[in-house]
Assembly symmetry: C2
Homo-oligomer: 234 residues x 2
DNA sequence: TTTTGTGAAATGATTCACAGCC
DNA sequence: GGCTGTGAATCATTTCACAAAA
């Protein structure tokens, strides 16, 4: 059937007043981090140059798609040779806005929130957890992954003082919309939502949703079809 | 900018030998779980019927899209009235293959694996964790979320005995491909991968990837663009 | 009168295939 | 000779807009 997945077009498409012309297609943006990761691995293994074919294979896509994706960023390859690994890392990083270190606030330090805080996927690549917040006052002060848990009331202060522009919601579904509203009110304009709810946000705010059971259900659909197909194998 | 995201077209498109004709578009499949969740909430709140407009709003999509999506499953609405909530839940569940209970094996019981095991998103909707496996022999026997951790060597036995067809990988990136190979060898044909790697799998195996730092980087891209746009506000 | 279901149009993404450059 | 960059063709998805059903 397929390959890697989970991150594409459910982003409904920008509806900005002034039609800003996004230049890089959304589907391409969603793949850039994958290329970046593959390139880092190549760099670590000592490769200095790579062909579209090789990088495409490592990223689980076709080489034509890869080349078209990269072409939106500019012409950084050399015909007959390939791409310079270091240089390409730089260009993709720049396109993704990874030149700066983004501060993130994580709300909801339960099971999942703790795992996220300790995951390493943050520092890993230019992100920094500015604070952990939790609504339960009994958790205040507890230290998780080296950071003290703070009360939700500190939200505005944290966002202002730490220049936070990305919020991660790892609360139960029932609290997610309210937390989201408060994040937006505090000035956060990008949200990563792990709670199984659809958040309502004003224009100009980006939300991405990660939902375990959604993913399982999509896999279930395909399993179901495969089983049915196998049964019909005349 | 946008709305909910994270689960769509990065699924490269089916490449099955015999061109099975998928009927329901991939993009639609990725949204069905969202509708299902919204419908459950409506049912809990006592609603018995819902219009495409209302359900669309609750799901973060447009009503035309919703109606077209549902039309791939059949004509289950009543003109002038809307959809019967219970009935629609049933039809979507059936389409997703949720009539049966799927058994899942979770490999890698670290930080994230533990959070997933305890998340509740499994039992929640027709999924059952058949076993927790971990490569570290020191963890064997430890009980997490009510289940004992078993050694990786038990994989084949678990898959066979428990009729497992879905595997969840929550190992470090370095171990993911090997675990994946063993899952596939054992007969698992759908994989949910939380490790930050692109898995290579044979045809007929579905992989979906969930990657925290990918999501953050996509948000970073949009933040970056918004900041640039704000700066250019002449 | 309301709201579905759906052809047809518009938009977006992928793939092809090859000219151009190293 | 090998490999990129990209128009043009294809395929997929979304949106429009309205006829038909309740």
């Amino acid at each position: 059937m397929s390959q890697q997945a989970v991150t594409v077009p459910p982003v409904p498409a920008a509806r900005t007043r002034s039609r800003v012309r996004s230049e890089v297609p959304e589907a391409t943006v969603a793949r850039l981090p994958v290329y970046l990761r593959a390139l880092s691995a190549l760099a670590d293994s000592g490769r200095t140059t790579v062909s579209s074919e090789a990088l495409a294979t490592a990223s689980g896509v076709g080489s034509a798609k890869l080349r078209k994706d990269l072409s939106y960023l500019g012409s950084y390859g050399t015909r007959g040779v390939g791409y310079d690994v270091q240089e390409l890392v730089l260009h993709i990083s720049r396109a993704l806005g990874l030149g700066q270190r983004w501060s993130v606030v994580l709300v909801g330090v339960g099971n999942l929130g703790q795992a996220l805080a300790g995951y390493g996927g943050f520092d890993d690549r230019g992100f920094r957890i500015a604070a952990l917040l939790d609504a339960d006052p009994r958790r205040t002060g507890e230290v998780v992954a080296g950071l003290p848990i703070r009360p939700l009331a500190d939200l505005d202060e944290v966002v202002r003082q730490e220049q936070v522009s990305i919020g991660v919601i790892a609360t139960p579904a029932s609290a997610a919309q309210e937390v989201c509203d408060r994040l937006v009110a505090a000035g956060v304009s990008s949200i990563l939502n792990f709670a199984p709810t659809v958040l309502q946000v004003p224009q100009g705010v980006d939300v991405r949703r990660v939902d375990l059971s959604n993913e399982l259900q999509i896999l279930s659909f395909h399993e179901h079809r495969k089983a049915a197909a196998a049964g019909t194998a005349s």
